[in-house]
């Protein structure tokens, strides 16, 4: 995941930091910071608590909890600009004004901008005069050099369930900031209604920018940026519903990754000194931290700064054990060197490397622990039953990355590092034999129209065994989406089962799923006549199911689901890997290079128009042109940059598997282009289901 050379995303972090400190310095003296909880994660990704203290922040409180003490005169609110927060702030101010003899100075910083609505609310509540309003334009967060996210966790729910397009507006603003810096995307290509909205917003913002007074020169097409590909979550809902099978994807599925952070048992994390990035913990909760260290959860940042994780994150989980084992061996060999060190200089050389080795070791320990943690899930009956349904195959084949019987002892912090290494050395002796993962054949079966009721027993069993409701709903939704709706009788049956098993309040959940068009009966679909993504048409044409997958050395993106290629990414491939995809669709293998010249010139959706008809939502391909003179001047100045940066933006969120798949393509296409991924948020099937439950 080398940072795209054309675009430097680190400036986003630096700018956010600078802006924020400037805002803080605008308030004189020590201050209390009152934070919107949903911002703590994003803030933590570029701020440290100590830095806040240096800028005069005395204490931090959650907006939800209220300010408990009144020691500081200055109170700074930092909140997202929604009306709920505005009301909460008004409440605070009004409550504090009743404290006699206290005089507060309020500053409200809205993220990412001050809005008319918030101001109106503050005005209506009669506190507008008491507060100074500012804004903190935090849009993109650079989670990785090649991954920008707006981290709008609710965007999926808002866009598709509530039909509230605020996140599209913010996405457009965020992309605008890129265009302002690097020039216009010469071409905007996409699929889906919300994607279309985003493209429209971008085009409109450009024309407004042209009409505005802020800069003198019109924006011109960039010589660094290639096309912008907008993928709408709605055009491919199935991908996130399937169980992600990459390492990072599985961590997200089982433990949950929030703003690149994962909450782990302190015992797993190891010595505390490395984990100070935690960032913005409110003082009230951190005060209690040291007391009970045993069951304490500690946030750990998962990022490419951890080299081991960078290598592991996008691999199929089946080979993670193997990779860990290899690293363990190498580490062990490196440690062994110390026995051979005879002369003083040899010893000194070893010692100089020791720091690096220990760091690597620390990271190895963390990931071994994490892998074990995940294994606890993957070896459970329920998890396997879920996979069983997805893969349409008989039970008893565990997703097991370590040979049975050789699995390591649980690590305690007391045991020193040698324990880990030795354990790992034991596992890898023979190739793990039980990790036979087959493709999610169920998709193929459903798409082919095979009667799905064969899996209904298994789903009902999951319900009876009180499997997580999200997991059950995900399966049923997959059936509805791929199989073009459920039979009315089956649907009713499932509904009854779910209501009785998980509670009648799920009437609302089921209704929401129906509104999302994730769960529908066949008759409604026929009656409504709304176009849907038709997997039966796409399965073969886009080769969604790949039966033979080599997890160790993948040759297709399908490895991320052990045999299913995410539709969303296939769409991207249709644009940027045209020869390859044409070969796939026409069934002509081995012609990759031949037609390249002819087809690549056309670009866009060319050649896949028919395919697109089977996918829900509008299709578009827009050019953004500028004055020829300016364009030519730019090209002369920058030279004809052959290697362009393609930005793939997901409206409504993307999964870690999709990111992995795009990185896989990026590596293949290294000579021609670089891929920068943008998204409104990172999601998974569980988050989608929870959106319906809210």
């Amino acid at each position: 995941m080398a940072p795209p050379s054309g675009i430097d995303t680190s400036h986003i972090k630096a700018a956010a930091q600078k802006d924020f400190f400037e805002l803080l310095l605008g308030v004189r003296g020590k201050k209390v910071l009152v934070l919107d909880k949903s911002l703590s994660g994003p803030l933590g990704s570029f701020l440290k608590f100590s830095a806040l203290q240096e800028h005069g922040v005395d204490k931090i409180f959650w907006l939800e909890d209220g300010v408990a003490d009144a020691t500081q005169k200055n109170i700074v609110f930092l909140v997202r600009c929604n009306s709920k927060n505005a009301y909460a702030i008004a409440e605070h101010v009004k409550k504090n004004s009743k404290i006699p003899g206290q005089d507060f100075e309020y500053t409200v910083l809205f993220v990412p901008r001050r809005t008319l609505v918030c101001e109106k609310i503050l005005e209506d509540e009669g506190v507008l005069g008491d507060v100074t309003i500012g804004e903190f334009p935090l849009h993109f967060l650079a989670l990785e050099p090649d991954l920008l996210s707006l981290e709008l966790d609710d965007s999926f729910e808002e866009l598709y369930l509530r039909k509230d397009y605020t996140s599209i507006f913010y996405s457009a603003r965020a992309l605008m900031s890129i265009q302002r810096r690097y020039g216009l995307f010469p071409r905007i290509i996409g699929k889906g209604d919300c994607a279309r909205r985003l493209a429209d917003a971008l085009i409109r913002m450009r024309s407004e920018e042209d009409a505005s007074d802020s800069n003198l020169f019109a924006l011109t097409p960039s010589s660094i940026l290639g096309e912008l590909i907008v993928v709408d979550r709605e055009s491919d809902m199935v991908t996130p519903l399937l169980t992600q099978l990459t390492y990072e994807g599985l961590i997200d599925e089982t433990i949950g990754i929030h703003n690149s952070k994962v909450e782990l048992d302190a015992a797993l994390v190891g010595p505390p000194q490395q984990q100070q990035q935690g960032g913005t913990q409110p003082s009230s909760s951190s005060a209690a931290a040291p007391a009970s260290s045993q069951k304490q959860k500690r946030p750990v940042v998962l990022s490419s700064e951890d080299k081991l994780f960078e290598n592991l994150r996008d691999t199929n989980f089946a080979i993670v054990g193997n990779l860990l084992n290899k690293v363990a061996r190498r580490l062990n060999d490196d440690y062994e060197v110390r026995h051979q060190a005879k002369t003083v200089s040899e010893i000194r050389e070893f010692v100089s490397k020791l720091g690096g080795l220990q760091q690597e070791h620390q990271s190895l320990r963390l990931h071994t622990g994490l892998a074990e943690e995940i294994m606890k899930h993957t070896r459970s009956d329920i998890f396997n039953k879920i996979l069983e349904v997805q893969q349409s195959r008989p039970p008893q084949l565990y997703l097991n990355i370590f040979p049975i019987g050789a699995s390591p002892q649980p690590l305690t912090s007391a045991k020193f590092w040698s324990q880990t290494v030795e354990n790992l050395l034991q596992w890898g002796i023979k190739e793990p034999r039980d990790n036979i993962l087959t493709p999610p054949r169920w998709i193929a079966d459903l798409a082919a129209g095979v009667d799905p009721s064969s899996q209904h027993d298994a789903i009902e069993e999951l319900i009876a065994r009180n499997a997580p409701v999200e997991a059950v709903l995900r399966l049923i939704c997959i059936e509805s989406l791929v199989g073009q709706g459920l039979k009315p009788k089956d649907l009713e049956n499932f509904k009854r089962e779910i209501l009785q098993a998980y509670g009648y309040h799920h009437v609302l959940t089921l209704d929401a799923l129906e509104k999302l068009q994730l769960l529908q009966s066949r008759t409604t679909i026929v009656a409504s006549g709304v176009a849907r993504t038709s997997y039966s048409n796409l399965r073969k044409v886009l080769k969604l199911i790949v039966d033979e997958v080599n997890e160790h050395n993948p040759d297709d993106i399908a490895y991320v689901y052990s045999g299913y290629a995410p539709l969303s990414i296939r769409l991207v491939q249709c644009i940027i890997q045209k020869p390859l995809m044409t070969a796939t669709t026409k069934g002509r293998r081995g012609e990759d290079g031949l037609n390249a010249g002819v087809n690549a010139g056309a670009g866009g959706w060319r050649g896949f128009e028919d395919v697109l008809k089977s996918i829900k939502g509008k299709t578009f391909d827009e050019f953004q042109r500028g004055e020829d003179k300016a364009l030519r001047a730019r090209n002369i100045l920058n030279g004809q940059n052959e290697k362009k940066v393609t930005v793939v933006f997901f409206v409504g969120g993307c999964t870690f598997t999709e990111i992995a798949a795009l990185r896989f393509i990026g590596k293949r296409e290294e000579g021609r282009r670089q891929i920068l991924i943008g998204t409104t948020a990172i999601i998974n099937g569980n988050k989608m289901m929870r959106a319906a439950m809210a």
């Binding site: 457009a172 007074d213 003198l216 098993a501």
Partner: protein
């Protein structure tokens, strides 16, 4: 500028030269008495505001009745009246300017008016914080804000005018001795303080207090009281004038005293005003006498015929009297090096060379040869000096010299020369007395060309502003907009032709906001013109606020939706909801999906009543029912909960598609009732809120199987699911006897494997093993595996034996040790008797 000599008006103080430049003369009629007026001058050579000094008005009523009505008069530095603002809002306690030439007027009762365009348009705000009760005494201004002193000695600071937030500074009262007053005060602008917030120096008693937002610091001085305090433009130095007429200059940290000067007039004739001239000299003014004190205490004295007002600038001081406006400054170094008597700097030699050329003297070349090696610096110096020159003749002469020197050089970047020519052309244009902006080169650089253009626009000099903008390649949109606004306001033509004229001039220009022009038209009461103009606004979002105030609600809503900015849409909706009857409001949003979904999602959290009404009028019964269901779920009180449930179920029952949901809600009510009974019967266990499955599970785990069966039949739980529930509950109860008993049943709807698995994962291999023989549907190999997992290798062997699987037996043999091994051996032998 009548004199030809470049050094005319120069005077030496200590080793430095100061010059007085006559900017404009005959500002007012001779009988105009400036001493009657409070005069405030805008920085950077800006406009002057005059207001009759009320304290003097009472003493001298000799003026005619025409002056009875008071007004604030705005003049240019050249004495040209720009605007007269009539004033009847009470006593003025503060009159000052901001750096972007906004006029601030502060009245005694704490009202602040900010006249932002020299044309009488203003915004208004109140100081609050008790200013009204205590009364404002005095105000001091800096480039972007001001501080007001109240009669109760509190200080209020305002640091910006676009969103003024008056805030109290720390209270100095505790450090002011009883009976003492504040003799004088001054402020340090935020950009020059360590804290980046304004600080105020207050003279009281013998000492000076430093007041900022949070604290008051006593400097513990012994030499007060001070009648004047003045802070240098760069904030580094402070000059203090004592009661004895002594002037001290100290550093602003109150550590070092730099110089002392005695006015020699003692306490009887204290100076009327004390201001800084640049950063190195202080100017004192009496009625008709002005002293300028140099860095080391030497002084220059000037005598005037009439009252002189001092207007400090960053690089000098403007002195305004009835007959003239002068600028006093230290001669810039570059200029001094060229012009001072006996100057031998390369630049002065270069200048002389030009003189020689004009006289066709060969000495010109000698001069050049003399300074050959320093020629580039000489050219630079001439360019720089030209910038500091007010006289066009000398500007030309210096630029000529630079041009000549440049021509001799082989390599020289002319950028600075060209830029200076351009700048001077602009400066000369704005210094012209009709415009009256007497700005120095340094002020121009600090002010920036954009702001200078804004000043021109404010003076209605649109054409000049446009020319300057184009000449300096700056954006022209603001000028066009301002022009159009003025046209809309003042033109007597009919609306159509105004519109045509404005559109003709403005279309195709970048950055034109028609919204702003339309708003002006609307404010002028030209509604039709406003609508016409608004249609030309390219940014949909911009049109919205004006459309709202024009009561064009529907168009406003549509434009907001078009803009894609949901905040704007929601804002319009909030306003409309308040304004319109509910039915009309709903009608307006019904056919606008973006609007209605915004209302839906916001009402979901905050206003369920509205949501219910909305669904009702749109006949969306299911959605309405769901709202009520949600309310029921949030309700703690069981009776209300049930009532809402029933209401929701009734709504749902009306529609055919929701039969299942309606039934589910009925069931839910039934479940609640049963759970209530259970809670009463079985003390200490909570049931309400559990699902059907959970209830059954709980009942079985507690051993109330008959009740569980009742729930089962009531809710028609299928056998399969019930068996699973029972199995899990019994395992959780660890009631192995019951499981074994139950296992005697002939047939299980879920097979026997789950029994095995559940028991095994609960850790009971014995209970698990019971079910292995019952799993007859599984292949023998699986059963063998099951036996092994229970640790019963012999049993596995028997299984293999029955299946006649020699291979499996051999594998088992390898695994087994001790007695089981013998047993397996025996079985193997039986299968292979011949071996």
């Amino acid at each position: 500028m009548t004199t030809d000599s470049a050094t005319a008006g120069w005077e030496q103080v200590e080793d430095k030269y100061y010059r007085k430049i006559l900017l404009y003369s005959t500002l007012w009629d001779a009988d105009f008495d400036l001493s009657d007026y409070i005069v405030a001058g805008a920085p950077y050579g800006g406009a002057l505001a005059l207001y009759r000094d009320e304290s003097k008005l009472q003493l001298q009523t000799r003026r005619g009745p025409q002056n009875a009505k008071s007004s604030i008069d705005i003049y240019s530095s050249a004495g040209k009246l720009i605007r007269q603002i009539s004033w009847d809002k009470g006593s003025i306690r503060g009159l000052g300017w901001s750096e972007d030439e906004k006029l601030l007027v502060i009245t005694e009762d704490g009202n602040v008016r900010c006249y932002f365009d020299l044309q009488g348009d203003f915004t208004q705000f109140s100081l609050g914080n008790g200013a009204e009760e205590a009364g404002v005494k005095e105000c001091r201004f800096w480039s972007t804000g001001f501080v007001a002193l109240l009669s109760n000695n509190r200080l209020i600071a305002v640091s910006r005018y676009d969103e003024p937030r008056p805030r109290l500074l720390a209270d100095p009262s505790s450090l002011i001795q009883p009976g003492e007053t504040i003799h004088a005060w001054a402020l340090v602008p935020p950009s020059y303080t360590l804290s980046r917030h304004v600080e105020v120096f207050v003279s009281t008693g013998t000492t000076i207090l430093i007041v900022d937002a949070t604290e008051v610091q006593d400097q513990m001085l012994q030499n007060g009281p001070f009648v004047h305090i003045s802070v240098s433009p760069n904030g580094k130095y402070v000059s203090l004038c004592t009661l004895q007429g002594k002037v001290w200059v100290i550093k602003s940290d109150f550590q070092d005293k730099l110089s002392e000067y005695d006015t020699e007039m003692g306490a009887e004739a204290l100076p009327r005003a004390m201001e800084w001239c640049g950063n190195d000299s202080v100017v004192l003014a009496w009625a008709d006498e002005v002293h300028m004190i140099g860095p080391r205490g030497a002084a220059l004295r000037h005598y005037y015929d009439s009252w002189v007002h001092l207007i400090p600038e960053m690089d000098g001081i403007r002195m305004v009297s009835v007959e003239k406006c002068e600028f006093l400054q230290k001669v810039p170094d570059a200029t001094e090096d060229i012009f001072k008597i006996g100057a031998t700097s390369p630049a002065s030699i270069l200048l002389d060379a030009v003189d020689q050329i004009e006289r066709k003297s060969p000495k010109a070349d000698d001069n050049i040869q003399l300074i050959r090696s320093q020629l580039p610096e000489a050219v630079d110096a001439c360019v720089k000096a030209a910038g500091h020159e007010f006289s066009v003749r000398w500007q030309k002469q210096l630029l000529k010299a630079a041009s000549f020197g440049k021509s001799v050089l082989e390599l020289y970047s002319s950028d600075e020369f060209v830029e200076m020519c351009e700048t001077l052309r602009v400066l000369n244009a704005v210094r012209f007395y009709e415009v009256g902006l007497a700005i120095t080169y340094e002020q121009f650089i600090r002010l920036t060309p954009e702001k200078l253009i804004q000043r021109l626009v404010n003076r209605q000099q649109h054409l000049l502003a446009l020319r300057v903008s184009e000449y300096l390649r700056l954006p022209t949109d603001r000028i066009y907009i301002h022009w159009a606004c003025m046209k809309v306001r003042l033109s007597k033509d009919d609306e159509d032709s105004i519109c045509r004229m404005v559109v003709m001039k403005l279309t195709g220009k970048r950055g034109i906001s028609f919204e702003e022009i339309a708003r002006t038209a609307y404010d002028e009461g030209r509604g039709k013109l406003a609508t016409q103009l608004l249609n030309y606004e390219p940014r949909a979002g911009r049109q919205v606020p004006l459309l709202l105030s024009m009561e064009e609600d529907e168009i406003a809503l549509d434009k907001a939706i078009e803009s894609g900015d949901t905040d704007l849409v929601f804002y319009v909706l909030l306003i409309l909801k308040k304004k319109l009857p509910l039915a009309n409001f709903f009608r307006m949003i019904n056919d606008r999906p973006v609007a209605s979904s915004l209302i839906e999602s916001s009402a979901r959290e905050s206003d369920t009543g509205l949501l219910r009404d909305f669904y009702y009028q749109d006949d969306r019964r299911a959605d309405g029912a769901h709202v009520i269901l949600r309310e029921s779920l949030e309700q703690k009180d069981l009776a209300i909960k049930m009532e809402k449930l029933k209401l929701a179920a009734k709504l749902l029952a009306d529609s055919k598609e929701h039969v299942l949901e309606a039934k589910a809600l009925d069931e839910s009510a039934k479940l609640l009732q049963m759970q209530e009974v259970f809670e009463k019967d079985l003390q200490g266990e909570r049931f309400v809120g559990d699902s059907v499955n959970e209830t059954v599970f709980k009942l079985i785990r507690m051993g109330y199987s008959s009740r569980a069966n009742k729930v089962k039949s009531e809710f028609k739980i299928p056998e399969k699911r019930f068996w699973w529930l029972k199995l899990r509950a019994l395992v959780a109860k660890r009631d192995w006897g019951e499981i074994e008993e139950w296992g005697r049943t002939k047939k299980s709807p879920i097979g026997w494997e789950p029994f095995f698995n559940e028991c095994l994962s609960a850790g009971n291999t014995k209970a698990a093993s019971i079910f292995i023989p019952k799993c007859t549907n599984l292949p023998p190999a699986d059963r063998m595996d099951m036996w092994v997992r229970c640790g019963l290798i012999v049993k596995a062997g028997e299984e293999a034996f029955r299946a006649k699987d020699v291979n499996a037996l051999e594998i088992l043999q390898a695994k087994a040790t001790g007695a089981p091994a013998l047993e397996i051996d025996r079985l193997l032998k039986q299968l292979r008797p011949n071996k």
